[in-house]
Subunit: 330 residues, 4 copies
C-alpha cells in the first residue's frame, strides 16, 4: 500500500495538531514541513522525522502528493492556487479567505486545475456531531424541522487577533453556519442576525461584536437558530439540537471526567473542556483521516471549497443583517 | 384570620384546576361558581362545596372578595371591567383579549377603578422557572446576556381551536414572551420572527403557523431566542437557559419518574410529561397562592395587567414581523 | 358508588398525611379520628370534617369499614388484633411489632378472624420503584440477577427515637428488606450484615449502629446488596438498581427542581429532597388508594401481614449476623 | 534529558498498548521487543522502530534501563526475579502470580535486589478514578465511610481463559480489591463474599463463578461493597462511589458520544463503551507515564509489588469465603 506523501505548510499550533494526526495514520507520511519562521519548521520536523523545506519547494516537490495549509489566513488563497497549479491535493484550514470575491477567484483556479480541495471545518468530524448527522440520515428524527446551535468560547481571543479576524461571523460563527448546512440538509435562503458587545467594550473599539444570535430559514421553511458568545465561564460550550417530525437528536458538551461531588451545597460536576484543541482532538484526527481516505479512494472532497464559500456567504449575510438591521436574502 | 372569599367564573378544565388550588389554601374559600353551562357549574360546585350562582350575581355579590375568570377568552375583558367596577379583586387567565386596543381599554377601566388584577401567566410560578429567576436575582450568573427558550407542545390543538386562537404568537408563544420579560430584566425593543407550517398543512389553511423562531433584542443589547413547535413526539418540551457574565442557569424538562432502562440498545428514560396541566400542576397551585397572598398582604399584583399587555405587544410584533418579513421595533 | 368509611387511629405526623390522602380519594371518607392526645385528634378532625371519637369506639363503630393505624409502634399489634376481631379492614403502618413472636401471634389472630390487613411499606408505591418493578415484570431486563439498594437518611433521628426504634435494621433497613423482596422475586435464604458507628458515637451508646451493609442471597443464587447510612449531607438518598440477564433498570433520586447553575466552579444541581414525607408524597397517597381499591375490588392485600413478617425476619437475621459476625440462614 | 530505555517482554495485545504509550512519552524510548512468538515481536518492532531480541537478552541488556512484562501470567514472577537480579526497573502487568506463596517469594527477591517494581493496576490511572481519589484527598467528602464499586464485563471471556484465570476473584475482582484499597485509605480486615453462576452454566463446569458480591470491612468500621458480573448487555459497567462524612463523590461510566435521541419511545443514549482497552485508553497511557516519571524522579513505585500482594490476599480471602460460606479475617 502506497502512503500519501504530505507536505505541511505552517508549523504553528494547528500545524502541530495535523502533524500528529498524520503520524497516527498508516496510509500517510509527513515528508516535509515549511514555515516562514524556520525555527518553527525545524522544531516540528525534528519531532516528526520530516524534512524542513521552503514553502515553495514543498508546493512544487515531486515527492509530495498533498499539502496541508495551516498558515495565517491571508496566505490561504494564494497557496491553494499555487498548489492546485502544481497538481497537489490540498487540505486547507478554514477560511479560504475573508473576502468573498477572493474566495471565488481561488475556487475558479481550483476548478480549472481540477484540483482536489478539502476545507477544514473540523466540527463535521467531531464524533458527537457525526453521530447526530448519522441519526438524521438513519431517519431517527424524521424530517428535520428546526436546528439549534449553541457555540460559546471560554473567553475572547486577543484584540490583535480580533482586528484581523474578519469579525465574529466570519471567524467564529462560520463554524456554526457550516454546521447548520451540515444538519439542515437544505440551503438557507434568508438570514437575520443581531449582535452586541456585552463581554468587553474593547471589542467594540476593535470594530467587532462578542455576542450574537442568528435565525436562518430555508426555502421549505426549516429554521435554524444559532447563538454565539465570546465568553462562557463554565468552559467551551458546543451543543447542537435537531428537532424533526419524529423526534429530537442532540449532542451535549464534553468533560474531562465523569466525576460528581455531592454535598449540602448540591451536586457538582466539573466545568466543560475549555480549549478547542482538547475538545476537538478526535475531530482533528478524523478530518485528516477523511482527507487521506478520500485521496486513496478517489472520492469527492467533503467539506469542499464550495462548502467554504457557502459558509462565508452566510457569514457575510449575517454581518450585513446586523449592519443594516434587516433580514438578508441569500 | 379572615379567608379571602372567591367566586369562580368558568367551570371548565382550567376552572377545576383553580378550584382545587383554592381548596388547598387555608386563606381562601370558594364561595360560588358560575358558568354559561349550568351543568358544569353544578358539578364543580358539588365537588367543592361552593354554591352555583349566575356569573353576574357572583361579580356583584357582597360576600365575595375576588373573582377568578376562566371563561373563554372573548369574555375576559368585559368580565374584568365588570368585576373592576364591582370592586372585586381579579385573577384572569391569559390573555386579557386577543386585540390590543381592547386590552388597553380594559386596563384603563382597571386603572380608573383602582382594581387589583393579576394575569395568569402560570409559568412564572413553575418551581423550576422560579428557581432560575431566583438564581438570577441572587447574582449566580452575573449580568444576564442571552436567554434561550424552547417551548414545544406534544401535538397541535384542534383546528377549531386554532382558528379562534389568535395564532401561534398570541396563543402559544405569548407564554414565552412573558417568560423572556421575566428573565431578561429589560424590555425588548426589537422583534424578528420567522414561522412555517411543518407539522400539518391544515394549520396553514386555518390561517396559522405551527413552527416559529424569534429573536428579541433589548436596548442594552441583551438577546433572547425563542422557538416553538406544535409537535414534539417526546413530550411537552419546556426549557429555559439564561447565559450571563458569570455563568449559565438552566431549567430542564420534567418526567413522571427517574427510571432508566439499559440494554444493548442503549440507556432509555421515559418521554417527558406530555400534558400542560400535569406539567404545570405546581405552577397552577402556586399562582393562586400568590394571588391570595398578594390580596392578604395588599402588595402589587404580579404578573399585572400591564404584563399581559406587554406580552401581547410582543406577540403582535412577531406576527407583523412574519407577515412583512422584517424586523419590528416595539 | 358506596364510599369506604374510614377511622384513623393516631393523629400525628403520618396520620395527617394519610388523612390528606383519604380526602383526595373519591371512594373513601374519613368518618372519625382518635388519638391518645385529644387535642391532636380535634385539630385533625377540624381540618378534615371528621368526628373525634375514642380509639376503642372507632375500632368498634358500626359506621366504619376500615381503620388506619398510625399510632406509636408498641400499640400496633394490639390494635390490629382488636380491629380484626371487630371485623374491620386494617391498614397499619410498618412495623407490626419489633418482636417477631408478637408479630406471629398478631398475624394468627388476623388469619383466624379472616381480617384484611395491609402493612404500610410505602416505598412499594413510589412511582419510581413501581416503574422499576413494572419494567421487571415486562421483561425489560430479563431474569433478575443482582439488586443494589442505597438508602441513606439526611441525618440521624433523635437518640430517644433510636433507643426505642429496634435498631437500624428493624427501623430503617426494614424498608430495604421489603424492597429487596419486592424486586428479587425470590426469598433470600442467607443474610450477611456488617455495621459500624461512623456518624455519631452517641448512637453506639444508645446501643445502635448508624452505617451498615448487607448481602442477601436467594436459593437460585440471586444477590442483593443494601447499604444504609444515618447521614447523607446531600439529601435523602434512595436508589435502586436491578441487573438482569437482558439489562439494567434503575431509579435515581428526586429533586425539587431541574435547575442547574454552571460557572467556573462547575455545574451544580441542588441537593436531593431531604425529608421522607416530601420525597414519598406520591407513595403515601398511592398506598392508601391501593388499600381502598383492594377493599372495593375484594382482592388480596399487598403488602400483606406476611410481607411485614418476612421483612422483620430479614432484619432480625441481619442484627444477628452483626452480633455474631457470621452469615445467618433464614 | 536522557530517555529511559525500555525493553518490552510480550508483544501481544496489551504489549502493543504499552508500546504505543511509550511512543507518546518523550522521556522514554522502546529499545527492544521480545516474545516467545518471534513473528509477534517482529511485527511490533517494525511498527515501533525497536529491535527484536530474545527475552533473556532484553532482561540482561546493558542498553536497557527498564522492562515491561506483558507475557502470560505464569511467566510474570520468574521474569520479575530475573529482571530484578539484572538490575532492571520493572513494570509488570497484574497479577504477579495467581499463587500467594509464589508472589511472596518473588517479592522477596525484589526486596533483596532492591529492584524497583510497579504492578499494572491500570484503573488507578483512569482519569475518573484519579479524580475521585483527588477529591477524597482534598477533603471534599470528609472522612471516608462507605465505598461502593460496580464492575461488570460486557460478556464472559472464553472458557479456556476462565480455566486458567485463577477464578473471578483473582482475575476480575482483583482490580476492584485494589480500587477498594485505593479509595478506602485503610486496609480491610474482614471479607465476606457470595458468588453464583447466573450467566452461563459452562462457567460452573469450568470451576468458576460469574456473578459475585463482596463486603470488606476495615478496622475502624469503614465498609466497602463490590459487585461483579461477567455480563452487562449495556456495555462495560465501571463505577465507584465514595460516601464520607461531608458528602459523596462518584465516577460514572463512559460513552463514545454525548448524543441522545428523543422520540415517543423515550430518550435514549448509546450503550457504554464495551471494551476494556477502549474504556481504559487514557489509564494505560497514564500508568506508563507514571512508571517513567517515578524512574526519572527516583520516587517510590505506586502501585508497588506489595499492592499486588495485598489485592491477591483479598481475592484469596473472598474465594475462601465463598467456599466455606463464612466471613474471613484478613
Amino acid at each position: 500500500m502506497t502512503k500519501i506523501r504530505m507536505g505541511l505548510l505552517g508549523a504553528g499550533r494547528i500545524g502541530k495538531v495535523h502533524a500528529a494526526a498524520i503520524a497516527s495514520i498508516s496510509d500517510a507520511q509527513l515528508v516535509a514541513v515549511g514555515d516562514a519562521f524556520p525555527e518553527a519548521a525545524k522544531a516540528l520536523a525534528a519531532s516528526t522525522g520530516a524534512e524542513v523545506r521552503d514553502v515553495e519547494a514543498i508546493i512544487n516537490a515531486k515527492d509530495i502528493d498533498a499539502v496541508l495549509i495551516t498558515t495565517p489566513t491571508d496566505l490561504h488563497a494564494t497557496m491553494i492556487e499555487q498548489a492546485a497549479r502544481a497538481g497537489k491535493a490540498i487540505f486547507c484550514e478554514k477560511p479560504i479567505d475573508l473576502d468573498l470575491a477572493r474566495v471565488k477567484a481561488c475556487l475558479d483556479v481550483v476548478t480549472k486545475e481540477k484540483a482536489l480541495l478539502m476545507v477544514g471545518f473540523n466540527r463535521r468530524f467531531d464524533p458527537n456531531f457525526m453521530e447526530v448527522r448519522r441519526q438524521i440520515e438513519a431517519g431517527a428524527v424524521g424530517t428535520v424541522e428546526m436546528v439549534s446551535i449553541t457555540s460559546r468560547d471560554p473567553g475572547p481571543p486577543p484584540l490583535d487577533y480580533i482586528k484581523r479576524s474578519g469579525g465574529l461571523f466570519r471567524d467564529m460563527m462560520i463554524h456554526d453556519f457550516d454546521m447548520a448546512r451540515f444538519l439542515l440538509g437544505e440551503e438557507p435562503v434568508s438570514v437575520y442576525a443581531t449582535a452586541s458587545v456585552l463581554v468587553d467594550p474593547a471589542i467594540s473599539t476593535a470594530g467587532d461584536v462578542d455576542s450574537a444570535a442568528v435565525i436562518l430559514t430555508t426555502k421549505s421553511g426549516k429554521i435554524c437558530q444559532i447563538n454565539n458568545s465570546r465568553r462562557a465561564t463554565y468552559g467551551y460550550d458546543q451543543r447542537v439540537e435537531v428537532h424533526g417530525s419524529k423526534g429530537l437528536v442532540s449532542a451535549e458538551n464534553m468533560r474531562e471526567t465523569t466525576v460528581e461531588v455531592a454535598t449540602g451545597a448540591g451536586y457538582t460536576r466539573e466545568p466543560l473542556m475549555n480549549f478547542f484543541m482538547t475538545r476537538y482532538t478526535a475531530a482533528y484526527r478524523n478530518e485528516i483521516s477523511a482527507f487521506i481516505a478520500a485521496l486513496k479512494a478517489k472520492t469527492d472532497m467533503n467539506p469542499s471549497g464550495n462548502d467554504g464559500l457557502k459558509a462565508l456567504l452566510l457569514a457575510d449575510a449575517a454581518a450585513l443583517s446586523v449592519k443594516e438591521g434587516r433580514v438578508v436574502a441569500v
